[in-house]
Amino acid sequence: MSVFGDVPLAPPVAVFKLSADFREDGHPQKVNLGVGAYRTDDCQPWVLPVVKKVERLIVEDAGLNHEYLPILGLPEFRSASSKVALGDGSAAIKDGRVGGVQALGGTGALRIGAEFLRRWYNGVNNTATPVYVSAPTWENHNSVFADAGFKDIRPYHYWDAAKRGLDLAGLLDDLEKAPEHSVFVLHACAHNPTGTDPTREEWKQISEIMKRRSLFVFFDSAYQGFASGDLDKDAWAIRYFVSEGFELFIAQSFSKNFGLYNERVGYLTVVARDSENLSRTLSQMEKIVRTTWSNPPSQGARIVSKTLNCPELFAEWKSNVKTMADRVLLMRDQLKAKLQALGTPGTWDHITQQIGMFSFTGLNPKQVEYMIAEKHVYLMASGRINMCGLTTSNIDYIAQSIHDAVTKVPQCRS
């Protein structure tokens, strides 16, 4: 007899299972277009040059130790993170109403924010507050809010499969119909998995409704810098909402734009009405952190903080980020050109219109299965591909594989 006799075997997390399957595949032309990590044109992970430089500085600094960070994180990291998101000249920061929590990656930031909202937003411990996530969204959003205790997690219209773009009418309609005070998880830029972002005009419309209907703004910002190559451009939506007077949360990840995936560097920026509300909010977030991980890991925050707070390193970082973004843009251009040259049925403009690491190809599950089984090209069942997995060496093979999938495997009846 075991206490755990009845524990069922859980299904593996899809994106990691995909990588595991890829690893086991012996086919010489196999390609992994699954998990969202940057790759160079040699299909290698890339430790940013500025990161290598800063790490050496840290290891050689005999004055540094491994003591506990404060519960809310490394102070220099915290202030720099808010500045990166809101801009150097942010009035909200000057007003002393911006603070935040260093967290374990973007996931950790989302979770702390979600735990706080469940306890203190819209009443006390109101687990019935609806939380809206985009359809589709990063699959972990659902689990984060559900495990934080929210009972009512709903999709809002986002991806229009027919036109391969944003379903603005559906989105705005959902905003109008959502119960007041509902929480909306918005992707700040480079929407995952669709790569489709609202235009600035569309963001303004979203903002107007959210303000009028008292909906809570929770930004997920995992790709700042990665989308357009420009940090400020990618933060436009966040900054617009802040300037419109919203109190909001921003879950920031430095996994992608710093290539610091495994050091778990994230930040939850909190913008409150004033410093007094901010300090009470942070004090309660401290309590949540204390029972989750006590205090955050030091290495990644030190690297980011040193980089952001030193002008030369900051400039070098921005250029490293642009390198990554530019390679992705190049691959987008080339993939679209090749598909058009092959005469692959359908329109492929969305490949270059979409932005960031991912592209929602429009391939259906059967076509995806074909890609994996027959072509050894691994991608998510949703048809999402990581553009970083494309290289000058494999792009022809990938384009041909997509062409074959589309022509040999029928379209789903919608």
Binding site: A10, Y68, G123, D147, H181, S294, S298
Partner: protein, 428 residues
Amino acid sequence: MALLKSNKVIYCLGNISPSLGVLSTRNSSWWGGVQMGPPDPILGVTEAFKRDTNPKKMNLGVGAYRDDHGKPFVLSCVRKAEELITAKHMDKEYLPIGGLGDFSKCCAQLALGADSEVLKSSRNITVQTISGTGSLRIGANFLARFHGGPRDVYLPKPSWGNHTPIFRDAGMQLKAYRYYDPSTCGFDFKGALDDISKIPEQSVIMLHACAHNPTGVDPKPEQWKEISDLVKKRNLLVFFDMAYQGFASGDIDRDAWAVRYFIEQGHNILLSQSFAKNMGLYGERVGGFTVVCNDTEEAKRVESQLKILIRPIYSNPPMNGARIAATILNTPDLRSLWLEEVHFMANRIIKMREQLVAGLKKEGSSHNWQHVIDQIGMFCFTGLKPEQVERLTKEFSVYMTKDGRISMAGVTSANVGYLAHGIHAVTK
């Protein structure tokens, strides 16, 4: 203050009459009803200490080791490991959800012993966690979701202050069994057995593997044996918290004796480990969580569910500290160096205990301070009452937790006399 109160009133009204609540929040803040959280009882001590300008101030709050100059101590084996790691130019790709495989393996080996039958049969699942806190929280969440027994977790009285909110936030309920005897400043063995004998079957019982926090009072091996028998009889699920392996006696294997004994006796335990103290890796957040299962098949099922729990908290753990720990444990001369350094740290603390007692005698204290020497590990439960603690802090700038616990690690040959003087002053 008035604004806060009025917000609270409106908020309460808001719960009855939603429209009123909405009116107030629209004009003020979503967070008008959020109360100011009290400072953390343990970590808050350091914050108060930092604000104090008295040059003689002492921080005996949080359990972080200090050298004899009162400075943080970076172990040489850690520095050496870091150099080795830097030279390898590794990438920064995501770790698996369960963490660095090399680390989990040697983490389990360290606790269970290299020749453990559990490891040989692969019937444990060990995942890398965010230090001890993260490990306890994963365990608590796992219990809340999958434990078919009562929701109650029995903690020793007293226990680490953070145990209670961790289990509570995970959805478990807390109860206690007698542990510390204030009249002897020692172990209330009879009281513990008596309470444990009454715990409902299948409840979870938390045991501190060694160097009990906050009291420093550990059961003797014969006492552990009786506890194990009784716990088996009551069919309780054992959750060991081992945050100080190496720190109690200075010997890794000696400190893990209770954990290994219980496993040999057939308890399929849950185990949390921390490398914060014994490797000085505090801020790198290195820990492990182990579930000892019946067989590999069960371990696989448990592992799959742990991943499902972990993914929506932080996705996967940080690399740096785990890589350092694994390098140390897996590189023979670094491992030997580490064992020496742990021994050294533990010995310095033992010396400070002896010097504190000698100092109190010298001050002319008439109290019996033997418990300061008998207690083990980083902490000493002085027996000071809250009022005495307050005086010690206010008049002497000696910072400690209200329960009278002091971190011996914060005592040095330079300040032990001052500490003895202060303690004597508030207890004479």
